[in-house]
Symmetry: C2
Subunit: 480 residues, 2 copies
C-alpha cells in the first residue's frame, strides 16, 4: 500500500518519546490508520494479517479444549443490560446507544455490545434445562464498542475486535477450573506464539470485571516499563445465572443455577507485541504472527540470473510452508530496502546476489539481533525454519530479561514510588487488601494494582502503604 | 446443545407449507435461534460451523486472486453516508442510528454500517496517490445492519455477517474484469462447495446496488420455485471516486479518478443451502460445508467390543482429515439416531455393529439418496472420501434438474403468470427494457426481474408485457 517515500528515517526515538515512537511505528509500517470516526481505527492489511494469524492460533486452542464458535446479536436491549446491577454500572458510561431504526424512534434503546454476557445469558436461559445440556462451551469472534474518551490505536479504541468465551457448568469447581484453564491457554499462547512473557494473577475487587466474582489477568511489561493487560478470564460464579434465570435440573433431581465463566483477548495484544518487541529500527514481529516471515532481497538484481534465482528461492520457501515474499522493486537501493524491511519487523531477511549464487549460498539476517549467517542453498528451507525458532526464542528471552530487570521489590513507599516512576518499572510490594490503600497508591504514584500474582512471595509483613498487616504480594505499575 | 427430545417427527411438510418447513428445520437442527433483539438472529454453533467452512473456502479463493483482508469502522458519520446521493437514498430507510455515546448526545449522528463503500472510500482517498498504489484489492469480513421490517433467519435479518470486497483500479477495463472475475469466483464456489447451481447475469437499473454503475448477480432457485440472490458484484465506475476524490497520478502524468468495484456474499447463503437441498427428513448439507461429514453410529453398543471399534474407526476418519463424529449416547434407539442425523443433514452415516465387526465391514448410508453401501474396513477412509464427492455431485445434479424443470419459457402474459404462480417457477421471457413493464409485471404477478442472464436466447421479438420491441431475455421469479 505504501508507495515507498523516505519515511524510514522518521521514527521518533524510543528512549526520548515512547508514545511518539509507538504512533510513528504503527502508522509508518501500515498497521493501522486513523479514520473519520471518533476513536475508531482502520486496521490495514498488514495489521489485519497479524490479527488473522492470532485468530488462527487461538481458535485452534479453543477448539482443542472443546469450545465451539457461535454468533450473538450486536445490539443489546437496554433492559437486558440493566439486569445485572454491577454490570450496567460498570458499562453504562461507555456504551454507544442506538435510538433510531430507519425513520422511526425505537421504543426501547439498544446498546452496541461492549461485551456480550447479558445477551448470551438471555439465550442460555432458553437453551439450558438439564445437566445433560452442560457444559456449554461457546466462543464468539466479533467487534465490540466502548465509548472511550481518549483513544490509542490497538490499546484503547471505541471499536475493537476480540473473542469472548462464555461457558456454563454444573458445578462451581468445574467453572473455576475452566476460568484458570483458559487463562493458561492465553499465557501459553503469549509465550509460544507472541513471545511475550506475562505475569498471571488475580485482579483486585476494584479492577475486576463488572459483575464477576473474580477476574484473572495476565500482565505484560512494555518497554517504557508500563503494564498492559493482555487478556482476562472471569469466574462469574452464579451472579448472571441468578439474574437471567439459567437453571438446570441436576442428576439429583434438584433445580440449580449454572456456574459461569467468560474470557477474552483482543486486538490490543497487537499493541503489546509492538511495545514489547519493537526497537529503534521499528517493528519486530514474532515469527508465528508475522504475515511475512522471510523477505528475499535480490542484490544487484539487474545482473543476469539474480532475479530468477531469487524468485526460485522464494517459491521454494513458500512451498515449504514459510510465509515468504520477494522484494524486487526497482529504483530503491539495497540499503534502503534493508531499513524498510527491518522497520516492518520481518523476522528474517535473506540476501541473494551474484557472488552468493556462485557459491551456492545465501545470507540470512535475523531481525531480533541483526546477526548475519551464511546458509548453503541446499536445505535452506529447513535452516530458515529453524532460525525462525531461534528468533522466537531470542525475542522471548530478551523481553523476559528486560521485564525482570524492571521489577523492583519495594518495602517502603519511597522505594515504591521510585520503582514505578524514577526507574520506570513494576513495584513488587505487600498490600493489606484494602481499597483505601489501593486508591492512595494510585493517587500518589500513578500506579495501579496490576495483579495479585499466583506465585506469591512474602516480602514483609506490612502493607507498603499503610503499614498494617499485609495480605498479599502484589504487582503495581503504571498502565495503558 | 439439544437434549434430544422427540423433535424429529415435528417438521412441517415441505410440500404443504414450505415456509413453516424452513422455520422448523433451522430451529430443530440448532442452526439458529431467535433473540430478544428485533430482527436479529443468534447463529448457534452448528449454523456457525457452516459459516466458518464457507469463510475458509471463500477466503482462500480471495487470497488466491490477490486480495488481502482489512477492517474498517462499524460506524459511519452521517455526512459520509450522504456524500453519494443515490447511495444514501437507497440505504437511509434501513439504517440504525447511533445518537448517544456514553452520557452525551453526539454532535453528528452515526449509522451502523449497512455496507462500507463510503467509509472505505474516505480511506482510499487518503491512501491512493499514484498508479503505483493501484490496484487496491481489499476484502473485509464483518457484520452489517439493515433495519428490516420483516425478517427471516439467514434470509433477511437486521444484522447479518458477510464479506465485502472493495477494489480500486487504474482503468475501466481492469475494474470491469475484476467485477466479473469475482462473480465467477462466487459461481464456482456455489457449484463446487455449496452444490448450488446459479444463473449469472446483470440486475436491472431498478434492482441494482444504490450507487453502482452495474450490478451482477447469481440467482438460485429454492424448492418452492422462488429465487434467492446468492451474491452480487458491482461495477462502481467512478461514481464513488468522484464523490470521495479518489485520484491518482497516472504514468502519463495525468491526475485521474480510480475505477472501483465491490462484491459481497453473506450468511444468507446458508438459507439458500437449506432451501435448495433440504427435504422431508430435514437438512441436507453439502459435504464441503458440513461441520460433521460422517457420523459413526455404533449398533448394539452395549455388546463387547462395539464401542471400542466404533471409536477406533472415528479416530481413523479424523486422522485422515474427515470431519467425523461418533454418537455414543445411551438411551436412544438406533432408529431414533438415524432420524436425528438425517434431520441434521450429515452427508454420510456409518453404522458399525457386532456383525459388521466380525466381517470387517461397515455400512455407509448417503444422506442425499439414502443408498446403503457395505464398505470393507480396510481403506474405509478413502472410500468415504470418495463417497462424499459422489454425495456432492448427486446433490448438485438433483438441484440442477429441479431448477431446470421449473424454468418455463413464456411468450405471453398468461404463460408468464402461470410460470411464476400456478407452476411455481422462473419465467424466461423477453423484455423491452422499460421500468414500466418491470413494475407492471411485479404488480400483476408478484414476480421481479431476477437478472438479464449472460447467456441470452432470442425467444421472440416482443416484450412479454407490452408487446413492443424486446431488448433482453430476462429471468423473472418470485423472491425472498
Amino acid at each position: 500500500m505504501s508507495s515507498g517515500s523516505d519515511f524510514v528515517q522518521h521514527i521518533a526515538s524510543r528512549e526520548e518519546d515512547f508514545s511518539r515512537w509507538y504512533t510513528d511505528v504503527i502508522l509508518k509500517t501500515d498497521l493501522v490508520d486513523y479514520s473519520d470516526v471518533r476513536g475508531c481505527m482502520v486496521i490495514k492489511p498488514y495489521g489485519y494479517g497479524i490479527w488473522e494469524l492470532i485468530q488462527k492460533e487461538l481458535d485452534a486452542r479453543f477448539k482443542a479444549t472443546g469450545h465451539k464458535n457461535a454468533y450473538f446479536p450486536l445490539f443489546i436491549p437496554e433492559s437486558l443490560l440493566k439486569k445485572e446491577a454491577e454490570h450496567i454500572e460498570g458499562f453504562a458510561p461507555e456504551v454507544a446507544w442506538v435510538t433510531r431504526g430507519g425513520s422511526e424512534e425505537l421504543t426501547e434503546r439498544l446498546v452496541v455490545r461492549p461485551t456480550s454476557e447479558t445477551i448470551i445469558c438471555s439465550m442460555y436461559a432458553k437453551w439450558i434445562h438439564s445437566y445433560r445440556d452442560l457444559p456449554v462451551l461457546i466462543n464468539q469472534w466479533c467487534n465490540v464498542v466502548r465509548w472511550e474518551k481518549t483513544t490509542r490505536p490497538f490499546l484503547r479504541t471505541s471499536e475493537f475486535l476480540w473473542q469472548e468465551g462464555h461457558t456454563v457448568h454444573a458445578t462451581e469447581e468445574e467453572a473455576q477450573e475452566e476460568t484458570l484453564k483458559m487463562l493458561d491457554v492465553y499465557v501459553e499462547f503469549n509465550k509460544n506464539v507472541l513471545a511475550v512473557p506475562v505475569i498471571k494473577g488475580q485482579k483486585t475487587e476494584k479492577e475486576k470485571f463488572a459483575g464477576a466474582r473474580a477476574t484473572y489477568t495476565m500482565e505484560a511489561m512494555m518497554q517504557d516499563g508500563k503494564a498492559l493487560q493482555m487478556g482476562t478470564s472471569h469466574d462469574l460464579g452464579q451472579n448472571f445465572a441468578k439474574v437471567f434465570d439459567i437453571q438446570f435440573l441436576d442428576k439429583d433431581g434438584q433445580l440449580k443455577y449454572g456456574w459461569q465463566t467468560s474470557w477474552g483477548v483482543s486486538t490490543r495484544m497487537i499493541g503489546g507485541i509492538i511495545m514489547v518487541h519493537g526497537d529503534e529500527r521499528g517493528l519486530a514481529l514474532p515469527p508465528k504472527v508475522a504475515p511475512t516471515q522471510v523477505v528475499v532481497l535480490p542484490i544487484a538484481q539487474h545482473k543476469p540470473g539474480v532475479l530468477e534465482k531469487a524468485r526460485e528461492l522464494t517459491e521454494r520457501l513458500l512451498k515449504s510452508g514459510l510465509r515468504a515474499e520477494i522484494d524486487e522493486r526497482e529504483g530503491q537501493s539495497a540499503g534502503w530496502k534493508f531499513n524498510e524491511w527491518e522497520m516492518r519487523g520481518v523476522p528474517i531477511r535473506v540476501e541473494i546476489g551474484p557472488r552468493d549464487i556462485e557459491k551456492g549460498e545465501v545470507v540470512a539476517v535475523r531481525r531480533d539481533d541483526l546477526q548475519k549467517t551464511v546458509l548453503p542453498m541446499e536445505g535452506v528451507e529447513k535452516a530458515l525454519t529453524e532460525m525462525l525458532e531461534l528468533v522466537h526464542q531470542g525475542m522471548y528471552d530478551k523481553a523476559l530479561a528486560f521485564r525482570d530487570s524492571r521489577i523492583f521489590t519495594a518495602t517502603d513507599f519511597d522505594e515504591f514510588n521510585k520503582a514505578v516512576n524514577a526507574r520506570q518499572g513494576f513495584a513488587k510490594a505487600m498490600w493489606c487488601g484494602e481499597r483505601e490503600c489501593e486508591d492512595a497508591i494510585r493517587e500518589k504514584t500513578g500506579a495501579t494494582a496490576r495483579c495479585i500474582p499466583f506465585e506469591q512471595e512474602k516480602i514483609s509483613d506490612k502493607c507498603v502503604c499503610c503499614g498494617k498487616k499485609a495480605k498479599h504480594m502484589m504487582y503495581f505499575g503504571k498502565s495503558y
